[in-house]
Symmetry: C2
């Protein structure tokens, strides 16, 4: 018995992209899906009600941050993360691994786990597969992630091979330590960097452990997009058809479409909310930065083709004023719009799969958004 299952609806005849539904203890969401990131038990600036308005079916929260503050014991005592933050739809928590490797200092990786120092106060910490499971079991997300090593890009083949093998051993320990498999599904993470044979080895190891879902990690870490696409093309065919596939840390519109075309079902990224706080908006005609002087007297909506509450209500001139004046309400409006944009894009992607035209949709979208199209797949 597993807490999370994947229901396949159809495959796009034009691209091979998958339309599906992921079922969890907190309800279902359609895939391909984008997950907004709520690092500290809040998707920055927005309320749960607003996340539903913009169409979020599932959100991600970060184990590393919640472990350090407020502490998973407090969240468990509150009745779990859903109740703590008032979000009754599905949640996925990462393992903390990525933050240990990207935020912390003085890392020492051992077979047992990773010793490191707190990125804010310098205190000594230790995270292991068992500890990552213990924390995630306390948080109570619908989907938990295995504790993996996240090697830097680029890494040597030798380093990467050892890392992949350790990640497989850690994945097995995670499965063994997971205390609530009937309530929470544990996904394995395939590593291997840009080395196709190591990706294959990692996939083989993890699939043999029979996880209810698989993530592809270690991409979108600075490598060119053609490497990401090549690795996806190589890796997703090695994964079971009846389990969800999650590409970690990817959220630019082109990569969401190109990932879906390569068989990915789930994505997450801080990109839409992070750039929003800097005044950068995603629109049907590409990016714009609302701080630009040319928007000073522009009383049009952020995106004239957008149907979101912000675009129906506020002008570029007003939002520019708020952002320049460092008003919190400004970053609420830009965060809301960007998340609506990406979640609406995923809805368009699902609709295009339904009508076997995701390839055509890609062409149209890339044209209007202003993307180059070097990585187009041959259909």
């Amino acid at each position: 018995m597993t807490a999370v299952t994947y229901e396949h609806i159809k495959t796009c005849k034009q691209t091979g992209a998958r339309l599906g539904i992921v079922h969890t203890p907190h309800g279902s969401f359609e895939t391909p899906a984008f997950m907004p990131v709520g690092t500290q038990a809040t998707v920055k600036t927005l309320s749960p009600e607003e996340l539903k308005e913009v169409g979020a079916g599932i959100i991600l929260s970060n184990t590393y941050h919640l472990w350090l503050r407020p502490g998973q014991d407090i969240i468990e005592e509150a009745g779990g993360l859903h109740k703590f933050m008032n979000w009754d739809r599905p949640i996925l928590t990462d393992s903390g691994g990525f933050q240990v490797f990207s935020l912390s200092e003085f890392r020492k990786i051992e077979e047992e786990g990773v010793h490191f120092r707190h990125h804010l106060n310098g205190s000594k910490l230790f995270l292991s597969p068992e500890k990552a499971m213990e924390i995630q079991n306390s948080l109570g997300a619908d989907i938990m992630m295995a504790f993996d090593e996240c090697p830097p890009f680029p890494a040597t083949r030798e380093y990467m091979k050892a890392s992949v093998e350790r990640t497989s051993r850690w994945a097995e320990r995670c499965l063994g330590a997971h205390a609530r498999p009937a309530d929470q599904a544990l996904f394995g993470i395939i590593q291997g960097g840009e080395f196709e044979d190591l990706r294959a080895q990692s996939a083989k190891d993890l699939v043999s452990l029979d996880f209810p879902g698989y993530a592809i990690g270690g991409l979108s870490v600075g490598e060119p997009k053609d490497i990401m696409n090549r690795i996806l093309e190589h890796t997703t065919p090695l994964l079971p058809q009846d389990k969800p596939r999650y590409l970690m840390g990817v959220g630019s519109p082109d990569s969401l479409i190109d990932g879906a075309i390569r068989g990915i079902d789930m994505f997450d990224c801080v990109l839409p909310t992070r750039i929003a706080r800097n005044g950068t908006l995603m629109t049907s005609e590409g990016r714009l930065n609302i701080r630009n002087a040319k928007f000073e007297r522009d009383f049009r909506p952020l995106d004239e083709k957008c149907s979101c509450h912000v675009c129906k209500t506020y002008s570029r001139a007003y939002i520019r004023h708020l952002i320049r004046a460092d008003e919190t309400f400004g970053i609420r409006l830009t965060s809301y719009h960007n998340l609506h944009f990406l979640l609406n894009l995923m809805e368009q992607v699902r609709d295009a799969i339904r009508h076997d035209r995701l390839g055509d949709f890609r062409e149209e979208f890339f044209e209007s958004y202003g993307f180059n199209k070097p990585n187009a797949k041959n259909f």
Copy 2:
């Protein structure tokens, strides 16, 4: 013809407080009323929809800030402040005078107006009665304020007398410069500091000019509360019964009640939202600071007797976590709660007037909130 009228409903038999309705071009609001402050065309962190949820009938915005950024011409081009910020209920704008005297540097006061320097970039600026009217006419608020001099506390009698006389001459110039009296009502401001005879002189001067409403300025600037109450008791009887009376810059719960008892109809203050951003909450049992360690595992609402959305939905532990983690959503929740608390308090005040028991209500409220009661009026 005047844009704003006061409808008197009844006087509290126990205290003399007034229950009324102020009618404006953007609808009516009941008095005594508290006005949340939206300095830069936004009540910090909150949406217009949320302001309506917490019961705001009118908001205040600051002429000085909007003049400097984004500039009143942009707001006029947007169709006025209501449309610019998406607030369709009444708005009051101050004159900019208070900010000139509190924020700016190198002030030089002349009969013509005030020369000063921008509080952020140091540029040279000049504000006068005519300029303050021009800006406020562009902003288009329902209620505008006359440009007055705001003397420091304490000030000598000699200084205050000259200031009061100048403020009266400036008030007359404001009336003459006001371009849209049918759409916007201009209120006069009574000054005079703690000197009863100067307050009387100021009231007499301004009442003779027949403004559609009167404000009492220069209080809550550092003087003891008994001085404020004494000045109010002395001044409000000098004002016409059929015009609204506005006590500027006052927002602590005790002063709202004590002001209403002394015949005040309108109040404004940044207090509820400013302390909210620091984690300080107003509750039925007095103030609490949510950063306090004792709330770490407190899963009760901010105020167990409060019916607001925040108290119905979130725990002290969660809000404490958000505030400590510098999450914007935390100050949204605390700002929302504090404004709800004060606006709900005003509703209770109006209800108490309706039932001729505002004196009793004062006793009960001061007891539960933990206020001392030295300034109780004899009923």
